[in-house]
């Protein structure tokens, strides 16, 4: 096997392991035995089909938000506003579901809802790319702050036009059944949104590596000066990358509203944007790697919440674990570079001796 890929797999595995060990040690402060806790965590996951399938349900929006981060990352841009684009997509999905649900056939409505959440997230994201291209605004800061605007916007709508018929809580009415994303494993919550996420991750990979647009995005990301000399306008690339990135995050809103929640509540799913960034970094921004990273995080989420419910261990231990895993993954970049350097020097030395 290519030693670089071997390094990648081993160091990623070790990062996850170390993350678990370190967060497990913290359980000792709570007088809990980490080994039994982790044993429970894993046995819960395979307890029944419903729980196991829920891993993939939880992974679905994470794939989208991770793709969103990875996509701009390839162009050396930072979209850390996937959370906000997700809200915009969710608002669009819910509004269009209410508008079209029961009026036109479900499958047709779903396609329109899909497109509207893609567009809503995309436009909200493209705005960041636009101010970056036009005014050289800092994409990191602008995308970060755009989350709060989107959140406030969604919460405002939930207290006004989208509020439930009883006008009691800041949440919407549920959507009609015929605009639910179809379940594809009976007896579970696993909906077709997961398959959609996997297909879109593959499409992202194809777009980045097989098309001229993706090529130009990568050129601008890796060497903006060379791009300029090649007549590639970085500004357009910024807008394009953020448009696609925002659209991907918007789709997370679609799968959450139409696939899982079937309604919109105030402040929901507040962490998937940040977790998406973590997964994208874990996967080295590779779309295919993101699928696996998201499944891992999905498993931790499901296992963590059951752990909290059943054994009195706070489920925040899972967040700690995610945090530690991320730290170790980031450190592993350094370790891999050192390993490669050492390998090359050894190779040189052995060549010199021959």
């Amino acid at each position: 096997m290519n030693p670089k890929i071997k390094d990648l797999i081993i160091t990623t595995f070790l990062s996850i392991l170390f993350g678990m060990i370190l967060s497990g040690l913290l359980l000792l402060f709570l007088d809990k035995n980490p080994i039994t806790a982790f044993g429970k965590l894993f046995s819960f996951l395979f307890r029944d089909g419903y729980t196991f399938a829920d891993i993939f349900v939880k992974a679905t929006p994470l794939i989208f938000t991770a793709l969103a981060f990875a996509f701009t990352f390839k162009a050396s841009l930072f979209n850390i506003g996937a959370q906000g684009q997700f809200y915009m997509g969710a608002v669009a999905a819910l509004s269009v579901s209410h508008l079209l649900g029961g009026i036109i056939p479900g499958p047709v409505a779903l396609i329109i809802i899909f497109l509207s959440s893609l567009l809503a997230g995309g436009v909200w994201g493209a705005l960041v790319g636009f101010v970056k291209a036009k005014f050289n605004a800092n994409d990191f800061l602008v995308s970060m702050m755009s989350v709060y605007i989107a959140l406030a916007f969604m919460n405002y709508l939930l207290r006004t036009v989208l509020i439930e018929s009883k006008h009691e809580y800041p949440q919407s009415d549920p959507i009609l059944k015929d605009v639910f994303l179809p379940i594809f494993v009976n007896g579970t919550r696993l909906h077709t949104g997961f398959l959609m996420a996997v297909v879109i991750a593959v499409l992202c990979w194809i777009f980045l590596y097989k098309t001229t647009y993706g090529y130009r995005i990568r050129v601008v990301g890796m060497n903006p000066i060379a791009a300029k000399f090649a007549g590639i306008e970085a500004g357009r690339i910024y807008i394009l990358a953020f448009l696609i990135s925002g659209g991907l995050a918007g789709l997370a809103g679609f799968t959450e509203v139409n696939g899982v929640q079937h309604m919109l509540v105030q402040d929901f799913n507040t962490t998937i944007g940040a977790e998406g960034i973590g997964i994208a970094i874990l996967a080295n921004a590779n779309p295919i790697g993101i699928i696996f990273g998201a499944i891992l995080f999905g498993a931790l989420k499901v296992g963590g919440s059951i752990l909290g419910q059943t054994s009195g261990i706070p489920s925040s231990i899972i967040e700690l674990m995610e945090g530690f895993v991320m730290l170790f993954v980031i450190l592993s970049y350094y370790v891999r570079r050192k390993l490669e350097l050492r390998r090359e020097i050894l190779k040189l030395k052995s060549e010199a001796e021959v």
Partner: protein
């Protein structure tokens, strides 16, 4: 027998992918000029940077007075009396000479008057005549170098290492520098002179160390050798002599009229530049770097907006065309800085060939890259240009400088069907690669393309050009036929001295020189 100042014993230094130095041992004696001769990438700079504490040697030791000494930083080196003048100066343009010299060396309140006197007398001692209170940005490059030297002298260095010191100088400035070097060693100090130019090594050195591929191949006294032997030792093989046929150039392809361009800092980088290049002609542009060469190339390729003037390609004005449109119009551009402007180092060889033509229908089908066609093209380039690589999927950063440049050439020659701009096409390359680049340039000329060759290497300008012009401070001083030009006349023009037109404006050395330096690619 001269007394040794420092001894290098079995020094090795490894970088990723290259052995920079392997078991390098030699001594540097007091009172001598030691030349380190070798091609780009031979490991000359690396070994000296290790001695100066900028790099940490992986193996080996330095011996002073029979005691091994530890050099971990330039500070350690300076304490032992070792100073180094880098190829690229580390001066602060907005500060005065005095401020630059005392920077980091004095504590507490500065007694400017006393310090100025000290610096002035030091400068007088070596006939430098530098006013300590003048600003760096107002000084020509040659004087800036003297300030760098003064900075080292201020620290009482006993060994001065100079890395390719003449690269930025006019021939006349180089002579002044040589005089200083001789004066300096006469006082019992030592100089290490890093160079790849045989003539100047033979002129200045007492002893010559020849390096190739990171190892020492010869440690020879100057009186025991000659240029021919050294050249053979340095290159390891005979370089075929470039054959240049004369062609008749007929129609004008490129016409530049009264071109004025504002540079990045807002100053005028090009002032009223006019010239033409005919079909099958090479126009060489000589000049010390930073006098508008880069802006000239970048303006022609569409990166800068022209302030005044017009550019015609085959009688069509192209001023309003974008970079992309000029690529389509048939302008190839080999940029001086291939690492940042010419290549995407993290991409593969084949992907780099697509860099400027990704918009072309030829390479994509409904915006899907025609991978097979691209790969075939890449294989062809690798073969035609004999690029040494493990394959077309190898990342560009894994290739040596010469092979990287071949890829750039392969791409730009294809794009530049009418005009190819070569800006410093052989910078940082070894002699074999240089010869290859030169042959390619001549071949393209013989195909009837028009070629603009911008170079600071006079030998290159003379070897290839049909006509020669000199850029100084953004002005194009005289264009002459190659037969009428010689090193001396061009050298004077490079210093801004234009006797024939007697334009007093050009002699004014206080005239602000653009201080921007191009990045160094030797690594």
């Amino acid at each position: 027998m001269k007394e040794p100042f420092i001894e290098l014993r079995n020094i090795s230094k490894y970088f990723a992918r290259v052995i920079a130095n392997k078991d390098v041992s030699f001594t540097i004696n007091k009172g001598e000029v030691l030349a380190l001769l070798g091609e780009n990438g031979a490991g000359k700079s690396t070994i000296m940077k290790a001695l100066y504490g900028l790099y940490h040697a992986d193996e080996g030791e330095f011996i002073i007075d029979n005691e091994p000494c530890i050099i971990n930083s330039p500070k350690d080196a300076m304490r032992m009396g070792i100073g180094m003048i880098q190829q690229h100066f580390s001066l602060i343009p907005a500060h005065t000479v005095l401020e630059n010299i005392v920077l980091g060396n004095e504590k507490g309140i500065l007694d400017r008057k006393k310090l100025a006197e000290k610096v002035y007398s030091l400068s007088q001692k070596y006939n430098f005549n530098i006013d300590p209170n003048s600003y760096i940005k107002d000084l020509p490059v040659g004087v800036q170098q003297k300030v760098e030297i003064l900075k080292a002298l201020y620290q009482d260095v006993k060994l001065l290492i100079m890395d390719e010191p003449t690269a930025v100088l006019t021939p006349q400035e180089a002579i002044t520098l040589m005089d200083f070097v001789k004066d300096f060693v006469k006082r019992g100090h030592s100089v290490v002179f890093i160079s790849h130019k045989l003539q100047e090594v033979m002129h200045i050195a007492d002893r010559i160390i020849v390096m190739r591929n990171g190892i020492v191949l010869g440690d020879i006294l100057k009186k025991d050798t000659n240029e021919k032997d050294l050249s053979k030792l340095m290159v390891g093989k005979d370089i075929p002599v470039l054959k240049k046929t004369t062609t008749q150039f007929s129609e004008t392809i490129l016409k530049v009229e009264n071109l004025t361009v504002a540079g990045k800092q807002g100053h005028l980088a090009l002032k009223n530049v006019s010239f033409t290049i005919g079909k099958g002609e090479i126009l060489g542009i000589a000049g010390v770097s930073g006098n508008g060469q880069q802006e000239l190339g970048e303006t022609l390729s569409g990166l800068y907006l022209t302030k005044e003037g017009e550019i015609y390609l085959e009688n069509q004005p192209i001023n309003s065309l974008s970079v992309k449109e000029r690529i389509d119009a048939g302008i190839g551009y080999v940029h001086a800085d291939r690492h940042t402007a010419g290549l995407v180092l993290d991409m593969s060889l084949s992907e780099n060939l697509l860099l400027k033509t990704s918009f072309h229908k030829e390479w994509s089908n409904k915006s899907f890259i025609k991978r097979k066609k691209l790969n075939k093209h890449a294989e062809k380039i690798v073969q035609n240009y004999s690029v040494k690589t493990s394959g077309i999927d190898e990342q560009m950063k894994g290739l040596s400088g010469g092979n990287q440049q071949k890829v750039v050439l392969g791409r730009e020659v294809e794009i530049g069907t009418k005009l190819i701009i070569f800006d410093q096409p052989t910078r940082g390359l070894d002699l074999g690669a240089i010869e290859y680049v030169h042959r390619t340039i001549l071949e393209e000329r013989n195909k009837g393309k028009c070629i603009l060759l911008i170079s600071t290497e006079l030998s290159e300008i003379f070897a290839l050009s049909d006509r020669i012009g000199v850029l100084y401070d953004g002005k194009l001083l005289r264009i002459m036929d190659k037969e009428d030009a010689n090193t001396e006349s061009i050298g004077l023009l490079m210093a801004g001295i234009n006797n024939i037109e007697a334009n007093s404006d050009n002699i004014n050395t206080k005239d602000k020189l653009p201080g921007r330096e191009n990045t160094n690619n030797e690594s």
